[in-house]
Assembly symmetry: C2
Homo-oligomer: 170 residues x 2
């Protein structure tokens, strides 16, 4: 169970209201704090579902990426690009997955700089049961029907695009 204390009202929204008179883009502020807060809710909800399986969302995403990769292995830098993570975060995550024997580190055949991360059979199994756990809680995203979920995705994708998150491969 996530440990968000219930709120009698939204303090940040209240702050935003106060700003409206003296500063400016309160609507934007409200959206920002909503995103921050919903992310926090989802994170703790998802992590709680994964904890019994010894995973976090970050490590789970890495496992998913490897499971769906053609060879079951990827260079670390590619993992960083796909998951949008700093190289040091990849190192951190792979360290922990490796300590759990869910992935292995292999050397690249031609480029001796790169490290290939390969998922193990145990890793595949773990990803499978973790996915079941996640689908059981519907990924922690509740309160929206299919149409609204699609709307939300569309809006957020727009933001990501505006932020230059995915540069189209032109």
């Amino acid at each position: 169970m996530p440990s968000h204390h219930p709120l009698p009202f939204d303090p940040i929204d209240r702050a935003a209201k106060l700003w409206q008179d003296r500063i400016g883009p309160a609507a934007t502020m409200a959206a920002v704090t909503n995103i921050m807060r919903v992310q926090q809710i989802l994170q703790s909800s998802v992590d709680a579902a994964l904890r019994p399986h010894g995973l976090t969302f970050a490590r789970y995403e890495a496992l998913v990426l490897l499971v769906f990769s053609r060879q079951g292995s990827l260079p670390m830098n590619v993992m960083g690009q796909r998951l949008q993570l700093h190289p040091t975060s990849v190192t951190n995550i792979v360290d922990r997955l490796q300590a759990d024997h869910l992935v292995e580190r292999n050397s690249h055949p031609t480029d001796r700089r790169t490290t290939l991360v390969t998922i193990t059979e145990a890793g595949r199994q773990r990803q499978k049961v973790a996915t079941v756990a996640l689908t059981d809680i519907d990924f922690g995203l509740i309160g929206l029907d299919d149409t609204q979920t699609a709307q939300l995705t569309a809006l957020l994708t727009r933001v990501r695009r505006a932020a230059g998150d995915f540069t189209d491969p032109s």
Copy 2:
């Protein structure tokens, strides 16, 4: 400048597409990862704007809360409730603000368990300039017009409500 590496395509969406055939609520998964990602973008954008002023978003929010409080001081547990933070997170944040002389810790007049956090004059000044820095970047939330921003807020509010985030004081 945030350090997200540009993406040629959305890997998680791709993974979600793969799941669609074999697992199920891929749309939900896509929305979840989008929220996670947008939060990350906003966080790093906002933190980058605050870094020159020696603040993070978490500490900034705490300052705002104190500035808008009637007495300029609040008990730590109240701060935790308003900011939706774990008690230990409040301790952490107040520690750092105090080290920067932006807040002070005072003892409560009647309840010796509670600690009153009081904003200093330096804290008020810092909050002011930090707010200017933040409004200058429009909180990093771009790519949406007013209508879309309102839509986004409405959708996220629905999620928060479903998660029991604000328990209406009925």
